[in-house]
């Protein structure tokens, strides 16, 4: 049986990218081999370790357990889309400052999963962070420093959101002012 390749087009880290792939190609291989985004790692390849975690339409998923064709026309965020070396994402900055990584193999997936957790629960308790880490495995850190990093990231992100909130409130005020005037 001749099986045609499929064109898979995604918006990844804000950029539209596409490649022709076999239907059996896993999403993680598409990212790494076809799009050259090698920040996403493959640890276990059996849906356990979470090293391959990325965001698909805003939700954290294991990209070793999804086909590239299933992701067609989706919005993806990989670790490359989080921040730049000059402007780290709060999660990256906190992992750095709190020593949330040693070898770094698990780190891209862990950060994506933890961003997924903070989207659901912006102010998690230590226990909730540990529960949220069910889907990731780190063989180096013993997790304690990851927990500290996530706590710090949550704090920075909450402060930033509050500031944004103030900015929005302020712009509304300006708006009202203009209106009244």
């Amino acid at each position: 049986m001749a099986i045609e390749n499929r064109k898979v087009t995604v918006t990844v880290n804000g950029q539209e990218r596409s490649a022709e792939v076999e239907p059996r190609k896993l999403l993680v291989h598409y990212l790494r081999d076809d799009l050259g985004l090698t920040g996403t790692h493959i640890g276990c390849d059996t849906s356990q370790c979470g090293a391959c975690t990325i965001m698909v339409n805003g939700a954290a998923v294991k990209s070793c357990t999804m086909l590239a064709v299933q992701a067609d026309k989706s919005e993806l965020t990989t670790v490359e889309g989080l921040g730049t070396i000059d402007h780290l994402h709060p999660m990256q900055q906190s992992f750095w400052e709190e020593h949330g990584l040693q070898c770094g193999y698990c780190t891209p997936g862990v950060m994506m999963a933890m961003i997924g957790l903070l989207q659901e629960n912006p102010n998690p308790s230590e226990e909730e962070i540990r529960e949220g880490m069910e889907g990731v495995i780190c063989r180096c850190t013993g997790y304690q420093f990851i927990v500290s990093a996530v706590q710090k990231a949550a704090k920075i992100m909450a402060e930033a959101a509050a500031k944004d909130g103030e900015a929005v409130a302020a712009s509304q005020l300006v708006g009202e002012g203009t209106h009244r005037g």
Binding site: I3, D45, T53, V61, K62, T65, Q70, G116, E134
Partner: protein, 285 residues
Amino acid sequence: MIPVKFDYVHAATVDQAIKLMQDSDGTGKVIAGGHSLLPLMKFRLTEPDVLIDISRIDQLKEVKVEGERLIVGALVTHHDASKHPLIQAHVPLLADTASQIGDLQIRNRGTIGGNLAHADPAADLPAAAFALDAEIIIQGEDGEERMSVDSFIIGPLITMLPENSLVTGVSFSIPPSHAKSVYLKYFHPASGYPVVGVAAMAGTDKAGAIDYIKVALTGVGDVAFRAESVEQTLLGQKPSEKMIREAARLAAEEGEMGSDLFASAEYRENLCKVYTERALRSILL
């Protein structure tokens, strides 16, 4: 690990999915979240010629109340089931169970319909489905039919799903508003799957006697089951620690205990009793 070659098609509607299954002549398989199917395909334990992707049929993502029952679309993910306001309000047991499946990432992909259609003896959802008298809504070549979950799941990975048909949703009975519920599982530390999972619901009348009780267990044998002996022992009684302990001793009565590398049958039987007791204490005392 890479699956063997297969072809891949999208179904835009339920009718189209059925047509595509007919066309595949038994060699096609439906894929929803893919979180049971893809791991099997990667191990080459199953090798369908064509995957029929139903994940974009929006009609299968709806949740609605229909009289005394809540209808949950087959494609509702475990994550969405755990957060959906109608599910939380009417069948909190389902929300509670869904929130304990796998991990964050698994819950974002796995679906209610896929979980029950897969009929994994170690899955969590069957416990809630048995306790909530679930009916599986099936759309096939000859129209729609409904099957109670205990006649649908008949063995490990074996269901009565007719050829060329789809699970479109699951209908759960809405328990009376005074009933409390809990899902409690003892999970294998590596896989997260239950070695035993107990879904329990119970409520008491004004005089303090138990007037509503459902208990179902999963993970311990080939199929989930209702612990009817426990239910019957407690119905009409005023709950006490002693009563609950005695009733919970019957928790394994209706089930057949499996034995594997994780746990012997004897150990599983003990876990059934201990977890049923804990579950009932937490909602009745």
